[in-house]
């Protein structure tokens, strides 16, 4: 196990380097630069501005400088938000996004798994169709529809919640629901499908033959295997939560990192793009590793892999 973890962490280094390099190339290929404005500045002024940020150097020199500062842990200043360093922006905003994502994931799992399990157990009956119908609603309502809808009902309508912000604890609920219901629906469907797959397998029949109570059969054996595709989905779900959080953060005015993750590309804020991309990449790699470890624990047969 430790062997695997160490190896994956080591593999992360070339992966991150590749990500950094590809992003660097993509950014400089894209038309438009960080200092293009509606009222363009005279070329001499533009040259001066670019000199401050080293953008006038040949590309390979810029790349070396960029790698160098990266290795020293210096993510540089934001090009767009003068006065702010990239690491400041990330350290101020990320905890918020993390909390939002955490609640959303909790809701998604807390709603999705039970619904999926019950639906599978009620296979062929009306209850299953009803539950899956409810789950479908979560899929058909993207975050930019669900958010305003929830706000319309619970904030403008009933007045139970603030329409935006992240100051009091109750501010968490609507955004977390908006983000979480979507993923909850996916998880419900995957859980149900996974359970239906495994309910027929031999070892379930064996457990039944042994006379264990139905509940134990379901919970212990089927659930573990059924959750397998769900766990696999958690990796991409995290990535989705990250990019999806941008929309929720905009609707609810939450000071998270999503806004910078997306807008930095539009602003050609090279340093901020790089900082956010690498930051998230680290999390994605770690989370994927965690997910793989869980999968291995769940299915001991795959343990002697790699």
């Amino acid at each position: 196990m430790l062997h695997l973890i160490a190896r994956r962490l080591l593999q992360a280094i070339p992966t991150l380097w590749l990500i950094a390099t590809l992003t660097f190339v993509l950014l400089h290929l894209a038309p438009g630069g960080p200092f293009d404005e509606e009222k363009p500045v005279p070329p001499e002024v533009r040259a001066q501005i670019e000199a401050h940020y080293g953008l006038n150097l040949p590309l390979h020199q810029q790349y070396v400088r960029f790698l160098g500062s990266l290795l020293q842990g210096d993510l540089g200043p934001s090009y767009k938000y003068a006065g702010w360093r990239v690491d400041e922006i990330i350290s101020q905003s990320f905890p918020v996004s993390l909390e939002l994502g955490g609640w959303a994931l909790l809701i998604a799992l807390a709603l999705g798994i039970p619904i999926g399990v019950i639906a599978a157990l009620q296979h062929g009956k009306a209850a299953e169709t009803a539950l899956m119908g409810v789950a479908m609603v979560g899929i058909c309502l993207p975050t930019f529809v669900l958010g305003p809808l929830l706000l319309l009902v619970f904030s403008s309508g009933l007045g139970w919640f603030n329409p935006l912000g992240w100051s009091v604890p109750s501010d968490r609920l609507l955004p977390a629901l908006t983000l979480g219901l979507f993923y909850g629906a996916y998880i419900a469907r995957l859980t149900r499908s996974g359970m239906l797959d495994t309910l027929h397998h031999d070892y379930i029949r064996t457990a039944r033959a042994k006379g264990l109570s139905e509940r134990l059969v379901v919970l212990r054996h089927a659930l573990r295997s059924a959750l397998y595709p769900v766990v696999a989905y958690l990796g991409p779900a995290l990535a989705g939560l990250i990019s999806g959080s941008f929309i929720v953060e905009t609707i609810f005015f939450i000071p998270g990192l999503g806004m910078f993750f997306v807008n930095s590309a539009f602003n050609r804020d090279y340093t901020l793009v790089m900082g956010t991309v690498l930051f998230y990449a680290v999390w994605i790699i770690l989370f994927n590793l965690l997910v793989d470890l869980i999968q291995m624990w769940m299915n001991p047969r795959t343990r002697h892999e790699d």
């Binding site: 593999q11 894209a30 590309a265 991309v277 994927n288």
Partner: protein, 294 residues
């Protein structure tokens, strides 16, 4: 002699399996309903606009944002265009893009994931690290680049961009499933017996992947349809006056409390399509379930 016999019976066995699956699918009530609804929607989208007195592009500025009426069954948008026609025309784009892009993602993702999961070891590591890398790249920049590099791609570019993103998730799920399946007893047995890899993949692994793959496919289609609206925001998708469900829903979501019909009708079509596709998918899954030997 034994081989020939096995091959023949295997072939007829396969045929009867397929017929069996089809029959089971048709018997599934929800799948039938789903199929009918979906067929109806497709028909409406194809033929409906031809029957309507309005076109999707004609603006009528003085009649902007009117609620549903006899003249305009679904009401009008801000520029006075008929929402019913725009929804139907948009459906053509969205369903087309939805299926094509998902098919692309499906083919690439399943193949990649299956190979990675089955190969294991170093190959799998490298393949999955590639997936991780592609995952982390900023999607926005990639799409922006695509709009610039490929001047006149139009619709086909959308498939490319979306397919390029969605296959990654499919690959991860398929790889996870494959790894689990690979160690199952009958797969081991087949390997020990010297059955070649392609055969194992096709006959043993692939059928058992169908469950999560089908589910995930039916979940990918709505994601693709909505992603298309994000892409057109970047200048890559449908250009006005053409519409798609994604852009209609996005526009409508901004006006949810003032002009709700602008969201409700395209949203309804979108939801019905997704519902019906998912019921079909569920039916498919049930019908093809190799273990479902009742």
């Amino acid at each position: 002699m034994r081989t020939k016999h096995t091959r023949e019976s295997a072939a007829s066995e396969a045929r009867s399996l397929e017929r069996d699956a089809w029959e089971r699918l048709c018997r599934n009530r929800m799948a039938r309903i789903g199929g009918l609804v979906f067929a109806a929607i497709c028909l409406l989208c194809l033929i409906g606009p031809l029957l309507s007195p309005h076109t999707y592009a004609t603006t009528n500025l003085a009649y902007g944002a009117q609620p549903p009426s006899w003249q305009h069954w679904f009401g009008t948008d801000d520029l006075g265009r008929d929402i019913l026609v725009r929804t139907l025309v948009g459906g053509r784009i969205s369903i087309g893009v939805g299926f094509t892009a998902t098919a692309v993602a499906l083919i690439i993702g399943v193949a990649y994931g299956m190979l990675a999961g089955y190969a294991g070891g170093r190959t799998e590591s490298i393949m999955m690290r590639c997936v991780d890398t592609l995952y982390a790249l900023p999607f926005t920049i990639i799409v922006i680049l695509l709009t610039v590099l490929i001047e006149d791609g139009g619709i086909y570019l959308i498939f490319l961009a979306i397919g390029a993103v969605e296959w990654l998730t499919m690959a991860r799920i398929v790889r996870g499933q494959t790894k689990a399946l690979r160690r199952l007893s009958f797969v081991d047995a087949a390997r020990v017996n010297g059955v070649n890899t392609a055969r194992i993949l096709r006959r043993h692994i692939l059928p058992n992947l169908l469950g999560p793959v089908i589910v995930y496919t039916t979940l990918t289609i709505p994601a693709v349809i909505l992603l298309e609206s994000v892409i057109s925001f970047l200048g890559l998708g449908v250009q006005p006056p053409m519409s798609s469900w994604g852009t209609l829903i996005h526009s409508g979501s901004l006006k949810i409390d003032v002009y709700p019909w602008q969201l409700i009708f395209p949203g309804l079509f979108f939801s019905l399509t997704i519902f019906s596709l998912n019921f079909i998918g569920d039916g498919l899954r049930d019908a093809l379930d190799p273990q479902d030997g009742k």
